[in-house]
Amino acid sequence: MFSKDEILVAKNIGKNFLISSSTLGNLYLALFNRKRKADKIVSVLKNISFSVKRGETVGIMGRNGAGKSTLLSIICGVIPPTSGEVVSNCSISASLNVASGFSPDFTGRQNAHVFCNLHNIPANEVNDVVAKIYDFSELKSYFEMPVRTYSSGMRARLSFACSAFVKADLIIVDETLSVGDAAFKIKCLDQIRKMQMAGQSFLIVSHSPNMISAYCSRVMVLDRGSIVHDGDALEGVRMYKQVTSQQLSQSPVGHQKSEDFFETAKVSFSGNQARLKFSCTYKSGGHYRLSIALKNMEGITISGFSVDDLIEAKDLSRPIAYEFSFSNCLSDGQYFFDGNLYIFANDEKSLVKIYPNFFGFNQAVAQTSEQSKHAGLMNIFTNASRTTT
């Protein structure tokens, strides 16, 4: 089963979930091994096979719902796979999301003790390990308080500290580092680097291309329950971006090419201020609302704005221009925009079109010169106005 240096092998892992109007459907399936007529089975993981070698750091990327967390839960033995098997000849320490196996009524210290017990730390070493967890997590007096009183960042601190200090052969980190303050993230990343140097294996789930490319020797990209890439980290990050943009362009609501709507856009930066001008053409008259969201490459909305406009028949012959002033406070990196166009009819707002990912830009590049592109480029919008062209 294991080749040289392999510590974990997953073979043809599949996982199905039952979609049922009530949990009785699951009861029926579990008892009689067949589903009721009204219930549906969805496959969230399909034929996943991979292995992890000793000393390797494997990154797992994929959009939300791709099956990453389900896969990790199966690897950790928390949920059983529907088909296939995971075989490991190592101890695994998991920090599965920020809740990470913590009992909310227990204090941080009590949860750390449970975590040590769960990972078979000898009784005479438990206090030392808990002391290390206490020091690293920097929770101070909160360590003696119930975990339900913690913020998500504090849970992440405890979660990472617990998984890092129980001396497992393979440490699984599932988006734990996506919350918490920057200083603690840096501390965690330093710790990961130190442990990597000492030969520690990691399985890291993250939406951050920077983190994955910097810390992982190999990347698996999951899409719709299947592995679409398993190999080079940079190639994996590229694949992840491709998968993310595909998702945006395959949005279930009707959409059209941005060229059909957005005509021109111009953005200029001046110190902490930025100004955006763009124009678009409407196909028919009416009371419209144009909402635009600025997102980073992880798909997180940074900010957004919307503008209401009454379009008359005479406006259809020429592009309508909009101008926005906003404060320029984005850090370097890739950003893109989603646009949603709504129309008001009978006091109700209904969606006309979605313009997903209609423009992307690199802030570091955009900052250096005035950008004039086919479509919009914007940041944090403080006000919006229609201008005449």
Binding site: F17, L18, S22, T23, L24, N26, L27, L29, A30, L31, S73, C76, G77, V78, I79, P80, A94, L96, N97, A99, S100, G101, F102, S103, P104, D105, F106, T107, Q110, H113, V114, N117, L118, P146
Partner: protein
């Protein structure tokens, strides 16, 4: 093998932490464990013993036993049964976060509720022994008799706890159903009234309820001659065996699917 050493290890740990975290925030702390049954005893003692003049007599000698001691002999197992049932329906649901993100065996959570009930059982035993001494019904077989009673009680409530705990994530109505069962069980079991008060036909019906057997078993240690074989002991044993078979079947079938519904 349902329970392993490992599952009891975590169960013990969880139970210990649960008890300490529950009572550390309480003003009167663990004294509630004594206060609650004693308050109930006082209320029932007044209503049934004083007002309604309900009482027991020794089956061998016919000597009057009063109300308090025989009542508590029935009330103690009933309280433990209702506690185990209520805790079991919550055993997996209340630890949802822990179950879906850690590898703690499911049976540990059930073991934890049983151990908590076990902790209450020790306190009940202390109250029972104190009352036996106070009412001068303490014989050489009283302590082993009560211990046998508690052992039998756990043989009975363990499979019930497993069944309720494993079904609760799948059957949303179970929590409310449990409340109804517990309420009915109090009146359909001769806890606050002696069996002799009901007709022979109704006595047979009462023995269909396994709690009746348990309650009667708990009263033997305070009788002058406890060594009497009763046919209901055999039927109780059969019920226990059936419960264990059902519990083992349901646990093996449903435990792999629990994380899917939590």
């Amino acid at each position: 093998m349902l329970f392993t050493r490992e599952s009891f290890k975590f169960g013990y740990y969880l139970a210990k932490r649960d008890i300490s975290s529950t009572y550390s925030r309480s003003l009167f702390g663990m004294s509630w464990l004594f206060v609650s049954p004693l308050v109930a005893l006082a209320i029932y003692g007044f209503v049934y013993g004083r007002v309604l003049r309900v009482g027991w007599s020794d089956p061998s000698t016919g000597e009057a036993l009063g109300f308090i001691l025989p009542f508590f002999c029935g009330f103690a197992p009933y309280m433990l049964f209702s506690e185990a049932l209520a805790n079991s329906t919550n055993a997996l649901l209340s630890k949802r976060g822990l179950i879906t993100t850690s590898k703690i065996p499911l049976i540990s959570f059930i073991a934890s509720t049983l151990l908590r009930t076990g902790f209450s059982a020790i306190l009940q035993l202390c109250v029972l022994l104190s009352l036996s001494l106070f009412y001068q019904r303490f014989y050489y077989y009283t302590l082993p008799g009560f211990l046998l009673g508690f052992l039998t009680l756990f043989i009975f409530i363990t499979p019930i706890s497993i069944i309720f705990a494993i079904l609760a994530p799948f059957v949303a109505d179970l929590k409310d159903t449990t409340r109804v069962i517990v309420r009915f069980a109090f009146y359909l079991t001769p806890i606050a009234y002696p069996l002799s008060l009901v007709s022979e036909t109704f006595q047979k019906i009462l023995f269909l309820n396994p709690l009746t057997s348990l309650v009667e078993l708990f009263r033997f240690p305070i009788y002058s001659n406890p060594f009497v074989f009763q046919t209901w002991m055999l039927s109780f044993l059969v019920i226990c065996l059936l419960l264990w078979a059902v519990a083992a079947f349901l646990f093996s079938k449903l435990s792999p699917a629990v994380t899917d519904v939590l």
